[in-house]
Amino acid sequence: MIRLRSIRRGRGVAARVMGPVLGVLYGGSVPGFVQVLMFRPAFFGKPLGRYADAVLRGPGRWTVGERELFGATVSAANVCSYCIGVHARIAADCLGDPVVDALVHRTAEPPDGTGSALPAMAEFLRRLSRDPDALTAADLAPLRAVGIGDDAVREAAHAAALLEICNRVASALGVEGMGPQGNARAAAMLLRRGYDL
């Protein structure tokens, strides 16, 4: 349960008007993290949504599915059940479950055709999440060896930074993960409408 009563109860126009609307869009109840975003939206929810949309949906070198996979990878490193569930579902909808099982959940080998860039980038982001100050230029070598340029690294780093933020907010405030149905509804909604609501 979300720790702050103010967020659970909601506040202002966003909660009164957008709450029911988002409940319908999400196919039932409003996910916990969305409740957080609707609480004081000018302070956090709106600028975060605009940042998320630029990072995960805007034009880029990585596909939407690949960027969502990076977000899921970071969320797995931070053990954020809410963010893993949603972003892994979106990545799986775009790239297929076997890729997500291999690179996010690490329960299988990457399927044929995965290529080398996506696993290399995901591994770098896991290290970046764990200890950013411990990384050296040598950690970039595997990326450059498979043809990942500096701007593609920057782009993936934004996906990582975004989820480092979301993971902490969700975990610290007690946002609980959803089940498969809730994740699927949220994934469908976010693929259809993006993050800048």
Binding site: R3, L4, F43, L48, C80, P132, A137, D151, H158, S171
Partner: protein, 108 residues
């Protein structure tokens, strides 16, 4: 997508991150701007926030209801707790972006 489009998209990502930081530091809030700024840049927090800051910086999983209750008993509102959590989380994102820029600037 051509090089100009790529550059424009990259600039948008950077700008949106700066806008998020600006909202968290300078937007309407109950924690003083100086405190929020110190949380976002990762300098030493006020003593009574230090425990929560460390737990959020470490990923947030260790935060408990008791942490919130302790701060509430010390006079912090729920809005202040929320602002603290968000500011420290944004700091964690910023530290990853800076780390990558540092690496990319190093000789390979």
């Amino acid at each position: 997508m051509d090089a100009d489009d790529q550059a424009s998209a990259a600039a948008t990502r950077d700008r949106r991150f700066r806008e998020l930081v600006a909202a968290v530091v300078h937007g309407a809030g109950v924690l003083p701007v100086a405190v929020r700024e110190s949380l976002v840049v990762g300098t030493a927090p006020p003593d009574d926030l230090a425990g929560l800051v460390a737990k959020v910086a470490g990923g947030g999983l260790a935060v408990t209801d008791d942490d919130v209750a302790t701060l509430r008993a010390a006079g912090y509102s729920e809005d202040a707790v929320f602002e603290c959590v968000v500011a420290v989380a944004v700091a964690a994102g910023g530290s990853r972006l800076r780390a990558v820029e540092r690496l990319l600037a190093e000789p390979s």
